[in-house]
Symmetry: C2
Subunit: 265 residues, 2 copies
Amino acid sequence: MPGRIDNSVPPPADLSIIGLRGVPEIEAGDNLVQVIAAALTATRYEIKDGDVLVVAQKIVSKAEGRSVLLDEVKPSSAAETLAEEVEKDPRLVELILSESSEVLRKRPGVLVVVHRLGIVLANAGIDASNVRDAGHQERVLLLPEDPDQSCAKLRAGIRERFGVDAAVVMNDSVGRAWRLGTVGIAIGVSGLPGLVDLRKRPDLYGRPLQVSETALADEVAAAASLVMGQADEACPIALVRGVPYDRREASARELLRPANLDLFR
Amino acid sequence: MPGRIDNSVPPPADLSIIGLRGVPEIEAGDNLVQVIAAALTATRYEIKDGDVLVVAQKIVSKAEGRSVLLDEVKPSSAAETLAEEVEKDPRLVELILSESSEVLRKRPGVLVVVHRLGIVLANAGIDASNVRDAGHQERVLLLPEDPDQSCAKLRAGIRERFGVDAAVVMNDSVGRAWRLGTVGIAIGVSGLPGLVDLRKRPDLYGRPLQVSETALADEVAAAASLVMGQADEACPIALVRGVPYDRREASARELLRPANLDLFR
């Protein structure tokens, strides 16, 4: 009834997250814009201007052919030695080292490194779960070569296909110092700032805020991870609606604490 | 029209977050259940069974009278010495030390400690922003004495007032190792697990998952923080709907990595 306010209907939520279900197994060379289009149709959702599309690192890595057959990896002698020390597969250690710029901590079962992308990650973010076996062979999945670039390409593809300007965030579930459990973080972004600077905004009493910057992209990544699931629920794409953000050029590198400002390396 | 499926209406979002706006300035002794009830009425939302109510640490601390006048703090000589070293107000350093069990890192402007609650925090989570000045006097706000207990009380109050079983999470925005920007984390929980164990669930190919536990409460805290804002938007309470969780007794202490398993202290 136009002109009447229906008080029984609550206003829309400030933020909503829709998991795109029924995404098929992704293979190297798959076009993720087509995958997203099919999933949107199946879910009966439309992507809108200002939405944030969050994609799991895993499907981007698969589409970009970043899966590696362990049998084809030749460990260096350095990898062999380190593998013995940390009780890991030398082929996996070889891959971890080749993906990293520095080993920060090591102990049996654990290798925490600075990934070549600058992110501090256990095992360089290399994942052995949910990667299809080719005839019982062991495969692992590396991070995409350039996650920001992958996000930018997806964003451009979405603009072309749907005529909307949506931001794209690539998330991954990672461990942390001090706290147990993994949380989603942003390893790539396009069109959405990694960090939001609150320094210019006063608090409720007009004083400058002490806490100055919010890791916006990491919070979006964590929120999306709540609906994306991690195990047998195949829901690697989520649509986040209602995040206020400046549409500026951005990089997930904004979120990296420079080593000289990091007291915990 | 009952009996007909309207394909133009998309299905509900998997997860929605509603910020409760118009929450008044909280004073010591305020009843937060009443505050929540008033905010729900004003927002035209109902709290439902299975919802997760996220409350900002700041309003719980205020309601519990955890604000301290800096002029009433007498710094010890240890606090005086440390304050000079890190170039901070000795009264603030006295409070930080009294709230902490261990100083992990120090340098000018920064004191990273293990809070008596076990959480690793800069400045013991003590906040000087958005605390009302009483006649130009400097006030700061300590964390609640027992955030899990505060959440349990709120949950019981909500059950009594609204007749629903909702979980409660208390969040705070904190800095991290390795990454810039703050993210919301859970410093107290009731009725919602801090950690969700995925070890028993196979991945898409039936193999056990490598990454075993998700920090569910931290991801909920980060998601809520996206709508709660931090500066001049007074939105310290959010309703998160659609999080799947086991309704079990829980504690935010589940999320603390034991010191002997922490390679970054």
